[in-house]
Amino acid sequence: MTKLDDLLSKWPMAERSQLEADEAAERVVAAIEGGQIPASIDEELLGAPLPKTAEEGETSAPPSLKPGRAGPVIAGVENKMSKDRTRDRTSFQELAKMATTPPPPTASQAPPPPSASVSGSGPAAVVRGKEADSSDSGIVDLKMIASADPSGEQRAQTTPLAASGLFEDEQPAKSAPAPASAPAATSAPPPAAKAVAQAAPVASAKKAVEEKKGGGGVLVVLGALVAAGAIAAGVFFYMKSRHAHDTAVATTTVAAPDKADTAKSAAPGTTATAAASVADLDTPDDLPAVDPNGKPVAHVGGRRHHHKVAAPDETAAPSATVDPKLVANIPTGGAGGGNGDLNAEMKAAAGGGTGLGGSGGQAAQGPTFAPGTVPQRPSQGQVTGAIGLVTPGARACLGSDEPVSHATITFQSDGTVKSVSVTGFAAGKPQEACIKTALSKAHVDPFAEATYPATISIRPNN
């Protein structure tokens, strides 16, 4: 089998006679001697011919004799750049060495002259070496300072703190040793500069403390502003959450009671007054909230909310978070049960309880009645329950397509219906008598007041 490299290396080429080769050489020499040479040198001809392709990786170092991109002529430039790079590296090494080298020992060095080491009255109290003039590394050599001023340590012990006495509430300066920074601040050795050097740190420290104090005041103001903002935000969120809570409480749905059992569902102990109207069972939205004075309370938390008759289980749940204003209006245990006993209240509202006027608690502003006596007026639940029992009969008086009618039932003190007045569609019609007959069958427990009216809406059965 023929090998590829054999074919390539033994590629036959047409022989060129020696004469032809000589003639070609003569032409070149003639051109050279004849001055047929371009004046300028094309640098591209001396550079690397082919660029490196993208798929080629740097698989080895460049040849040591690499003429460089521009060939031998340019190689000098490359060598120069290489030398520069070497020098840079050396420079970095020197920098690293300088960074890691500790400051030169100065114990054996004579302290610099005071005129050279202390300048002005500022922080120049630190003695600086001569080398600081040309190459100041910024490193403070405490050993050098200590050696330059042997008495500095002793002086530091006795020199009061620069900040002492600046504040009234400070204790008198103690004889405690100065802080560690004192030696550096009091190390100005020479007598000529001694006074300046000792005064300088005090002044500078005082200034620093004043600045710090001023800065502290600014910080205090900023802190107060931040705290005020935080408080305002907290109040805002508290009010917002409270408002939401009120809304939740106010809109707690009180489900419509089902027929006769709905009497239990009214808010326990709600102090309905004579003006309170009991909504139709099918229209619980009409059931108003009432205040202790018997006036409808349509505003809770400054907004009107719809109250729905609630099932007992539902009404009990939000009671834990009810607004104190609302709670105050509810006589706890007003139906004779225990304090806040909902079951007893419901039982009483359903007419089964006999503990009216019991030892239950009183509402803050609600009606009061002595134990063992009749209540001032029938409870809302009782009224609702009583009316709920007779409402179906009244609704039966209306045809299915007849409009709504309204009736006002007036209970008398013995609990029976004193009168029934019908308004609306049925007024003056044959249905009026039917409705009156049906509603007259309502009955509540006796109460103290003379009469107690209750208004309802009568809708036809669907």
């Binding site: 089998m1 023929t2 090998k3 590829l4 490299d5 054999d6 074919l7 390539l8 290396s9 590629w11 036959p12 080429m13 047409a14 022989e15 060129r16 080769a21 000589d22 070609a24 050489a25 003569e26 032409r27 070149v28 020499v29 051109a31 050279i32 001697e33 047929q36 040479i37 371009p38 040198i41 094309d42 591209e44 001809l45 001396l46 550079g47 690397a48 011919p49 082919l50 660029p51 490196k52 392709t53 080629e56 990786g57 740097e58 698989t59 080895s60 170092a61 460049p62 040849p63 004799l65 690499k66 003429p67 460089g68 991109r69 060939g71 031998p72 002529v73 190689a75 000098g76």
Partner: protein, 196 residues
């Protein structure tokens, strides 16, 4: 004149000895011309490039620093001139046609001593396929292959000519061989493994 080395001839030529440079031309012109022929596939262009190579080299003799062999320097100039010529062309050359100088050696009239004309014809067909395969390579791979595999330069010498690391030269040669072997296989020529 005793046989001088290339460096000595260059040194003499730098001193104004045109005859010394002429000797350098006679010594390396065949190789330069063969390189140009393989790169340009045109004898007139290759001869022009070969002559131009030496003229440019003489012009830049002062900038030859002697760190490399003179012939690698000449090769670099020749390659650059050849590439410039190729890039200046308006039309592409057809591989392995009757005027391809790379196949001149297989002309019957140019090889009167060929023992078996039919065998020579088969060999010519094989080299013609090789020409097509080489021409199908990229400029970089083709130039490197010609320098190393045809002209016989070592990787180090080729790296000096092309200004690329030896590893790159080796990769180029390997890649060129692989592609060329695949091409030849597609043409029905089963070629053996490479020689190192």
């Amino acid at each position: 004149m005793a046989k001088l080395t290339d460096r000595e001839l260059v040194d003499r030529a730098r001193g104004g000895d045109a005859e010394a440079f002429g000797q350098l031309v006679r010594r390396h012109q065949p190789r330069i011309l063969r390189l140009a022929l393989h790169m340009l596939r045109s004898r007139p262009e290759a001869e022009d490039v070969a002559q131009e190579t030496f003229i440019r080299a003489y012009q830049a003799l002062a900038r030859f620093d002697g760190r490399s062999e003179p012939y690698t320097w000449l090769y670099r100039i020749a390659v650059n001139l050849s590439l410039n010529t190729i890039r200046a062309r308006r039309t592409a050359r057809t591989s392995g046609d009757a005027t391809d100088p790379r196949l001149e050696a297989f002309m019957v009239e140019s090889r009167p001593d060929a023992a078996n004309p039919s065998e020579s014809a088969l060999e010519r067909q094989q080299y013609k396929a090789l020409c097509e395969g080489i021409d199908g390579l990229s400029e970089t791979l083709r130039t490197t292959l010609v320098l190393v595999c045809v002209d016989g330069l070592s990787h180090e010498e080729a790296s000096q000519v092309l200004g690329a690391p030896e590893g790159t030269i080796a990769w180029r040669v390997h890649e060129a061989r692989r592609k060329l072997r695949e091409f030849m296989a597609s043409k029905g020529y089963k070629l053996g493994g490479e020689e190192s």
